[in-house]
């Protein structure tokens, strides 16, 4: 089975002894778009960093049917596009082109392929002529879009996004929501943006103190005011 995320009984403790994940199990089906919500420090980012093997905890993580191990890590990283929260971390090259080309370059593709992938990725985020731009001079919304393009160019099966709408103005947020809606990949999106969750995702996973406390339809979550209040969320 492809395009899946399959996490089983994952536990992770940071070197300083803080337990970030306690027996997390999660299954995301092909093509499904799932929201991951929960308070700050709940373990959202930690979980995401496990999905392409940056962090390694106890338990099992399978992505696209492949277990994450030393030998499969390159393959996994090409299949999972992980977009970090701060685009200044994601965009480390001098120009937009270099950054979007980084992933395909390390996949070992021939140059013409790399160029056409960069072209397509920039088209997908509607920043066609941005190749020569210097990353530092972009606006917040543009940076987020370029950050997404940097993983789209790798043609991933799964997109994992960490707080994609954080710090965006309403217009940039709106166009990002449209973009996420139109992208066909399997998606796991961590966010505090509850209105976006209600609009875009049928399924929501709530994580708090390293444990999954809710996993079900967004509609039923929104109806459960007690649960929401218990984990520090508000319905707008």
């Amino acid at each position: 089975m492809h395009h899946t995320i399959d996490v089983r009984d994952l536990t992770f403790t940071y070197p300083d002894g803080r337990v970030a994940l306690r027996g997390v199990s999660l299954f995301v089906a092909p093509g499904e778009k799932v929201a991951l919500v929960g308070p700050n420090g709940a373990g959202k980012s930690t979980l995401m960093l496990h999905l392409n093997g940056i962090l390694k905890g106890q338990g099992e993580v399978r992505v696209c049917g492949t277990r994450i191990e030393e030998g499969s890590i390159g393959e996994i990283r090409a299949a999972v596009g992980l977009v970090f929260q701060d685009p200044d971390d994601q965009l480390f090259s001098a120009t937009v082109f270099d950054d979007v080309a980084f992933g395909p370059l390390y996949m070992g593709l021939p140059e013409e392929d790399i160029r056409s992938r960069v072209q397509h990725a920039l088209e997908a985020v509607e920043l066609n002529d941005y190749g020569d731009r210097v990353c530092h001079h972009l606006s917040g919304g543009e940076k987020k879009r370029v950050a997404i393009a940097t993983v789209l160019s790798m043609d991933p099966e799964i997109l994992v996004l960490d707080e994609p709408t954080a710090g965006l103005d309403p217009r940039a947020r709106r166009s990002l929501i449209h973009l996420l809606h139109d992208l066909p990949q399997t998606m796991l999106v961590s966010t505090h943006d509850i209105p976006m969750v209600a609009e875009l995702f049928e399924r929501t996973v709530v994580i708090d103190e390293g444990e999954i406390v809710f996993d079900g339809s967004t509609q039923s979550l929104m109806a459960d005011r007690n649960l929401l209040a218990q984990h520090g969320m508000e319905i707008p």
């Binding site: 990283r77 200044d88 480390f92 370059l105 210097v134």
Partner: protein, 261 residues
Amino acid sequence: MHYNLTDQYRHQTSFLHGLDPRVKVITAVGYILAVSLTPEGAWWAFAFFFLVLCLAVYLSQLGIFFTIRRSFIALPFILAALSVPLITPGPVIWRIPGLNWAVSEPGLIRFLSILLRSWLAVQAAILLTAVTRFPNILWALESLKFPRVLVSTIGFMYRYLFVVADEVTQMVRARASRSARISGAPRRSVLWQGKVAGAMVGSLFLRALERSERVYAAMLSRGYDGCIRSLTRFQMRQRDWISLGLAGLLLIVPLGLGWMV
């Protein structure tokens, strides 16, 4: 809130802008070397070098005074050579009134030569960065077999200098916003202010360290495996080769002139 460390690059569609960056890097470095190797007091050679520079500035279409105007930034560094006329032995031509320090003739010649060399070299570097985009300079260095680790270190520095400068601006503003003082209260000591500044530098360092870890994770996520790779950007065309040859000629002639005369 954006720190605009002014980019040195000035966009134009001149002949110089259109050259392969490798040609420009080689020529600029060659120029600096040639100027540095020209013997002291070879004024004709220096004049020739200045004309070569003027020709390049003319070809860049940035205005003939462009590099001269910017070259004053480097003026303070000349101070380092200020003692040269005083400590070089030789016939004394002048004594500083009041101090009675002797200025020797060979010392003065040496000082003026250093002054001219650095002034010309700085202008060459200014012109290079004005007509070549920074990423292209990096690419040129890399394809000229400059050590890749160094090139990518410079690349990251260029990318994150702006980000760190933004963070500094934010911190300074945050400090200023909380630096209130009740009227009549005594001023804090310099030592105390120094401590605050020190703590700011420390936390900036920690932030940079944490960021470097996140950036590294982002690189790993996209398949980074420890070797640095890059795409070809430019192909040497006929006019690039011709320019390189002409530039070499224009540098060798004054250098030879300087040593023969």
